[in-house]
């Protein structure tokens, strides 16, 4: 990029203008098969090994919608407090681009399956903001292009492109908000909180893993500014495919600063597609369209209308799981922790792991301690997500069980976890292989205690004289002699007992 973008400071931008946002999120459903054909959606297949006449758009092929795709769309709609259409159709969105071999994307146009809902999202300080939902509709993903011959795989300057259609036809649900107004300076934070809440919701519904880093959830950030007090919205920019929570917030912030600079200079915002760059946190102009988009939507004649019966909708509504916002406040109460503590757990992405660890038998305090302490550090050091660490919640629960039974102390437990993370096996295997049992052999402990007393006569005298606190030094000596494998509390008991002092 040779041009630099003029920006005004965030504070100055907000002093003059009121941001209005629209967020469009695409969620790839976790179905086994594509939206309109029985091709597998499994990742990692060889190029073009998961295609058929339907998703290749070969003449005469007839699509049939995936029942789980429709069910997932209804579940998402219900969880977003939407109305569910009594009758709706698919539509062809016509365009010429090689990522869709049919030359159209099967989508929904003016009859989305779900509409008019809302999602309450919680901001960092616990404040709740209601984001209104315009619609959620069913559509399909496109194929994957590889651009050859240009610099670093860019489409510009490429000599030709290669297409893999394995992804073409994978079910997508597009969720569109109504214009988000009134967020003011917190607009970028609202955008991030909304996408995060939506991701939690999608996962709770079990319709997708919604991993943004894998493109299973992608966000377009539409943003415009209007002078304070003006009712009419300004012209918006559309920043496409923003693929992390942090990027959603940064993209919104950057666009606020960029728009303000253009408007302050008396310029006009061009309605255009923009690309977000992770490395610089900035956006650049995408291709300027030569002509207005003309998708010539029309009802898809090959797919019959979807008319979800009210019985089906009500059955799905009754089966909805506890939604994330409700679940979080319940857990916060059960665990007796503050809103800040809960926020830290959410920020670390540790909630599900902690719950799973408790479900596997651990007490809540220990489960929280390990995931937010030792394991969060390990994840941070290796740059992985907590739930991608090489340890399962059941294994963490087993470690806490060993600690509570007195077989491990905290120090040894940390070594066990380290061993499991290093691929040395299950907690019990690591305990065996590394010989990490707390020394519970009273004979061996007594000998170690006697040696510590004999080696530190001055300290022993102090303790005899009533200075119980001095016992810490002897406990330390015993722990050192047993290479940390003694139960410190029991060692202290033994020392005091030997020296004839009440603990």
């Amino acid at each position: 990029m040779t041009t630099t973008t003029d920006l005004v400071s965030y504070e100055d931008a907000l002093a003059s203008y009121d941001p209005v946002m629209g967020l469009e999120v695409h969620v790839e459903l976790g179905t086994k098969t594509k939206m309109f054909c029985g091709c597998s959606t499994e990742l990692g297949a060889a190029a073009n090994a998961q295609t058929c006449p339907v998703c290749l758009g070969l003449p005469g092929a007839l699509p049939v919608v995936n029942a789980i795709g429709v069910e997932s769309a209804i579940k998402i709609g219900l969880a977003l407090n939407c109305e569910i259409a009594e009758w709706c159709r698919f539509a062809r969105k016509n365009y010429f681009y090689p990522d869709m071999p049919k030359n159209f994307q099967t989508s929904q146009y003016d009859e989305p399956i779900a509409f008019d809902g809302y999602l309450d999202v919680q901001l960092e300080d616990g404040e709740t903001f209601r984001v209104e939902i315009e619609r959620a509709h069913m559509e399909e993903d496109t194929g994957k292009s590889t651009h050859v011959g240009g610099a670093t795989g860019r489409i510009h300057g490429a000599s030709h492109s290669l297409l893999d259609y394995n992804r073409a036809g994978i079910p997508l649900i597009e969720i569109v908000t109504k214009p988000i107004t009134g967020a003011g300076e917190r607009a970028p934070e609202v955008a991030r909180a909304y996408v995060r809440e939506l991701r939690e919701l999608i996962r709770a519904l079990g319709v997708s893993e919604a991993r943004m880093e894998m493109g299973q959830m992608r966000c377009d950030v539409n943003l415009s500014l209007r002078p304070h007090g003006r009712e009419k919205f300004g012209t918006r920019s559309e920043t496409k495919n923003v693929n992390s929570l942090r990027s959603v917030e940064r993209a919104a912030r950057f666009e606020i600063q960029r728009h303000a600079a253009v408007l302050n200079d008396g310029g006009t915002i061009i309605q255009e597609t923009r690309h977000f760059h992770e490395d610089t946190g900035s956006t650049t102009s995408g291709r300027v369209k030569e002509e207005a988009e003309d998708y010539r939507y029309f009802p898809e004649p090959d797919l019959v209308p979807v008319a979800p019966s009210r019985e089906w909708v009500e059955k799905l509504r009754a089966e909805l799981p506890e939604l994330p916002l409700v679940r979080r406040s319940r857990l916060r109460e059960e665990w007796g922790i503050s809103g800040t503590d809960m926020q830290a757990i959410l920020n670390a992405g540790a909630l599900d792991s902690i719950v799973a660890t408790i479900d596997a038998g651990a007490d809540a305090a220990s489960a929280r301690k390990w995931w937010m302490g030792e394991l969060a550090r390990a994840a941070n050091e290796s740059g992985t997500a907590l739930d991608e660490l090489a340890i399962t919640p059941a294994q963490v629960a087993r470690v806490t069980e060993l600690v509570n039974a007195g077989d491990l102390n905290d120090k040894l437990a940390r070594q066990v976890i380290e061993g499991v993370l290093a691929g040395e096996g299950t907690p019990d295997e690591v305990v065996d292989r590394r010989g990490l049992k707390v020394v519970s052999d009273e004979g061996a402990l007594t000998t170690a205690v006697e040696e510590a007393i004999a080696g530190n006569p001055a300290i022993a005298d102090k303790i005899r004289g009533g200075k119980v606190a001095a016992a810490g030094a002897l406990v330390g000596a015993v722990m050192k002699a047993t290479r940390g494998q003694a139960d410190a509390a029991r060692v202290k008991e033994l020392i005091l007992q030997k020296l004839g002092v009440e603990g």
């Binding site: 290749l56 919608v65 029942a67 489409i155 510009h156 492109s161 291709r287 003309d294 029309f298």
Partner: protein, 98 residues
Amino acid sequence: MPGITREEVAHLARLARLELKPEELDHFAGQLDDIIGAVARVSEVADQDVPPTSHPLPLTNVMRPDEVRPSLTPEQALSGAPAQEQQRFKVPQILGEE
């Protein structure tokens, strides 16, 4: 009845990626006009209370279970491709130089 203009034919041709000669634009404008005129007569019979028909059969909710069916092999999938490379469909340059 407004006729189909030359410009409209040119726009459609561009959307459909068809290259038309100037005389073809005039020729097709006339033909499309006739076709649309013929179809428009239907609206003279169908009143406001007749909704446009998108599907001739009164069917709804035809769905398929989420079960994997065999796909084509990559060789079969690519057999009709004018060009291929690395087991992928090879397409001409999408965008020119900036």
